[in-house]
């Protein structure tokens, strides 16, 4: 018996492979500024790895972006993150890691809800964020690869992502 707890999450209702990822418009943060942008306008520029992560500052967020950086995903595809953190927090994150990535700010977690991956945080009343999830999208937002956390905490299947990029991009 282990003496720590990994929480099983209820079944997600996310867009799956072959389906179209929902479009949305939110402030999109780069290293220099933020501006309202639609997912569709971003994805139209090329294949995109859309990654939902916990709020900036949580250790899974740090681990996820460090691993993305180590593997150089941003060299091969557009890398776009989504969390409930503010543009100011995203700006600070981009100074430290997530090189070449851009980050959507979705404070009310409406995008997480549209993707069927919302996660009400225990012990933080009123705070909902996306559960970790990764989608590889082609230019028309068709999902080519999807991974959604089924427990908390959980980390993306980095080798699978790498294989999906190699296969589709």
């Amino acid at each position: 018996m282990v003496d720590f707890e990994v929480v099983s999450l209820p079944e997600a209702d996310n867009p799956d492979v072959g389906e179209t990822a929902p479009d949305f418009t939110r402030p999109l943060v780069n290293e220099e500024y933020w501006t309202d942008a639609s997912l569709s306008s971003v994805v139209a520029e090329g294949p995109t790895l859309l990654t939902f992560h916990p709020m900036d500052g949580a250790f899974p967020t740090t681990y996820i972006w460090n691993e993305f950086d180590d593997r150089g995903f941003a060299d091969d595809v557009q890398v776009v993150g989504v969390s409930i953190s503010s543009p100011y927090e995203h700006t600070a994150l981009l100074e430290e890691r997530a090189e070449g990535a851009r980050l959507f700010s979705d404070p009310a977690a409406d995008v997480a809800e549209a993707y069927g991956i919302e996660h009400d945080l225990d012990g933080m009343s009123g705070v909902t964020e996306p559960r970790p999830a990764v989608f590889l999208l082609e230019e028309d937002r068709t999902v080519q690869y999807a991974w959604v956390a089924s427990e908390w905490p959980a980390f993306p299947e980095y080798d699978e992502i790498e294989a999906a990029i190699a296969e589709h991009v």
Binding site: W34, D36, P87, Y88
Partner: protein
């Protein structure tokens, strides 16, 4: 970028009254614009320096006319002269 994208880009700082002044004039003149928000620290505003030559906001880039401009009083005057009643555009 599609053809429907606004031709005017406004570099602004959240809660900056000089920026809000420009926003009011843009709205009064019924002009569409895209906001780009920058950081409060001057040293973190390289993008504004690059486009306008200065780190101050507000700054606008107007693709219609090729004009890039800083200082809210100058911008307001430019917008009214260009897009206001009897304006050039």
């Amino acid at each position: 970028m599609s053809e429907s994208d606004p031709q005017i880009t406004l570099y602004r700082l959240q809660a900056c009254p000089f920026c809000e002044r420009v926003v009011r004039v843009l709205n009064d003149l019924d002009l569409s614009y895209q906001s780009r928000f920058v950081e409060p620290m001057h040293s973190d505003r390289n993008v504004v320096k690059r486009v306008s030559g200065k780190r101050s906001v507000p700054a606008i880039v107007d693709e219609n006319t090729g004009v890039t401009m800083s200082e809210s009083a100058n911008i307001v005057e430019y917008l009214q002269n260009t897009y206001g009643e009897g304006g050039a555009a």
